[in-house]
Symmetry: C2
Subunit: 389 residues, 2 copies
């Protein structure tokens, strides 16, 4: 009889530039997660830490030992995971496996990132270049915009997708963000605001891009048995899929008209869960750029290839549509503290499935949700499926 | 019925300063591991990468996607682990959980490190300071010698341990290293050589310290079922234990007379495996300094606290003794490419349990072995128990 794994406690700090240290941010998120699950630090026997930039921005390797000390943990399994922007979800999966394999009972999965350590965003973006392939791309100034703009160009060319359709992603997510007091940005922007914002990397404009955020998010994973004592509404881990394609630089991506790695990850996750895209009630996706959310709608199977622009235009990803998407504001508005993002997404899905999201963001009767997270030039993708029972 | 996890393919490069890139080193180790298990890259569906310093020394984050590309892998689960010098064993455990939880069938666990990227050892040691706690220790020039010398001072003070006994650890391991063509150093040194070598951090001398090595090691973990088709002598994962104490800087370590975290890790591992120290035939331990091996004999329960010096002096950790230890030459002579070390240790235990170590290193009839790995100031410890059946 295999162990069922459940998300119980959840917690997040407000996202956005912060004066707090990574350890401070972590404490805040973990305190909330422990309280929600009615646990103390001594009850935690597994610890997976997701943080991307501590070596470079904090000049601090080996954070897992340090954070365990700060948090008062004595664990039977503990490690840090790192996989660029998808690390939060690989951390969740690592914690999931730790519980499922009976290595631990209560696993804290914590994502922490403090990106605003340098005087300007430009300097932070330069520092982030170390995530890119070194010998060709990083030297040339490669960055995330460089990786994602070609997807937009290609989709517009092949399917007639418009800049207005891309802008609608940000407009929708910004409307949700006004109801999320933890979001980095909480201001509504219109399609025209997006179109009039400065070009960053054609056709992506400033408001097509997510910000550089600080923040921490935490989730506690436990056994189905323990969960009964921890929370009223247990959220079950129902399926996981990851997919990579062998492409780390823009020139080796075989097809910019789709997220090929996500199609793989989604197929594997649906198979693992025994469900299909039609069963999904709510999703948090990795909308680091507006074009990303559009391609995610297609790769997750909510609309056919090429139909993403129309899907969004018709409001199918909005509340009341086919699959309400990024009702937290998404990376575009909620923010993107790199290693924390995947974990935050999962906690937001839990909030939805527990019917605890505020009015204007709650999806009525949501029972099954997905968090989808990506790393690198969208070529390493992970999908986690969660269910209320 | 729970899945049994087996180590099949194993591979390591020669350790020591190398002109090869991390990717090159990885290819060599992985090629050997795949051949040993009679697998191709396409058979691998899980990938855990352990590398410590790529962000700092190679200016390269997100190595997991890049290495998957180089190696031609298409995996259902993949991440990097980082936990300083113990990362190799947390990677093994992550791969173990991936197989045990049926997430994947054949998991490649790969450790790669290229430390010799800077003009001098002094510069490399300075770069490594980022692993140490930043606000107090790293600024003061903390390094591994600073962390381990107090253990030696304390043990000598409390139990009368001598510099000669410490030197005997290096002398023993150097004798083994002359029979290991992959070792960083392969030259026999005597107790007198050690005692006459320059002081590094009193009482530790140059030959009491392990070198700075490049290298890669790989292990393939699979199900008991698959293992039958891959190798003649399957090596079963029998137990795992990890232990931390809340101490990241030298001044917060409560007791320098022992490895308290290892006592915890060992207790948990023995419990998980249902065995005791008396059942262990051979061990590879984390002898980053001579004093470490001595304290490991005690914390692993092979000799009572305080008895480590005499145990070594009597040859109990040598071939023919109670528990032959570091028959590969250990970190002291084999070398210590940080993220690779734990994985290398496990492959060396597999070699022993398969009765494939060369004469002069093989422990006759060894059936059960341990690899023990530590991180930080010895306050994060992991023990993996392996068995031939």
């Amino acid at each position: 009889m295999s162990i069922e794994v459940v998300m119980t406690g959840t917690g997040s700090t407000k996202y956005g530039p912060s004066e707090r240290s990574p350890a401070d941010l972590a404490q805040l998120a973990v305190k909330d997660a422990l309280e929600e699950a009615d646990l103390r630090p001594g009850d935690i026997d597994g610890f997976v830490l997701s943080t991307q930039n501590s070596d470079i921005l904090q000049k601090q390797g080996n954070p897992v030992l340090r954070f365990a000390e700060f948090l008062g943990l004595d664990v039977k399994f503990g490690t840090r995971t790192e996989a660029a922007c998808v690390a939060g979800t690989t951390a969740l999966k690592t914690g999931h496996m730790a519980v499922e394999s009976k290595t631990v009972e209560n696993c804290l999965v914590l994502g922490v990132e403090k990106c605003n350590e340098l005087p300007s965003n430009t300097e932070v973006v330069s520092a982030f270049a170390f995530i890119n392939e070194r010998d060709f791309e990083a030297q040339l100034g490669a960055n995330a915009m460089w990786h994602f703009a070609p997807y937009a160009v290609r989709h517009m060319h092949e399917f007639g997708t418009t800049e207005e359709q891309l802008a609608e992603v940000r407009a929708k997510n910004s409307r949700f963000s006004t109801k999320n007091p933890k979001a980095h940005f909480q201001k509504e922007v219109t399609v025209d605001d997006v179109l009039e914002s400065p070009i960053v990397c054609k056709p992506l404009k400033l408001f097509d891009c997510c910000p550089i955020s600080d923040g921490a998010s935490a989730a506690i994973l436990t056994t189905g048995e323990n969960a009964k004592e921890q929370v009223d509404v247990p959220i079950y881990a129902k399926g996981y899929g990851q997919g990579m394609i062998p492409a780390d630089v823009v020139s080796s991506i075989p097809d910019h008209s789709e997220f090929t790695a996500l199609k793989k990850a989604a197929r594997r996750a649906y198979e693992d869960a025994g469900i299909g895209p039609e069963d999904v009630d709510v999703v948090e996706t990795h909308d680091c750029f507006t074009i990303a959310e559009l391609l995610e709608m297609e790769a997750l199977g909510f609309v056919e290839k090429g139909g993403g622009g129309k899907f969004i235009e018709e409001g199918q990803s909005d509340l009341g549509g086919e699959v309400p998407t990024n009702t937290s504001g998404g990376l575009l508005c909620r923010g993107h503290p790199i290693g924390a993002t995947g974990i935050c997404q999962a906690t937001l899905i839990a909030e939805q499935l527990r019917n605890e999201a505020p009015k204007g963001r709650q999806v009525d009767g949501a029972e099954l949700g997905i968090n989808q997270n990506l790393g690198g030039p969208a070529t390493n993708q992970a999908v986690f499926i969660w269910e209320r029972r």
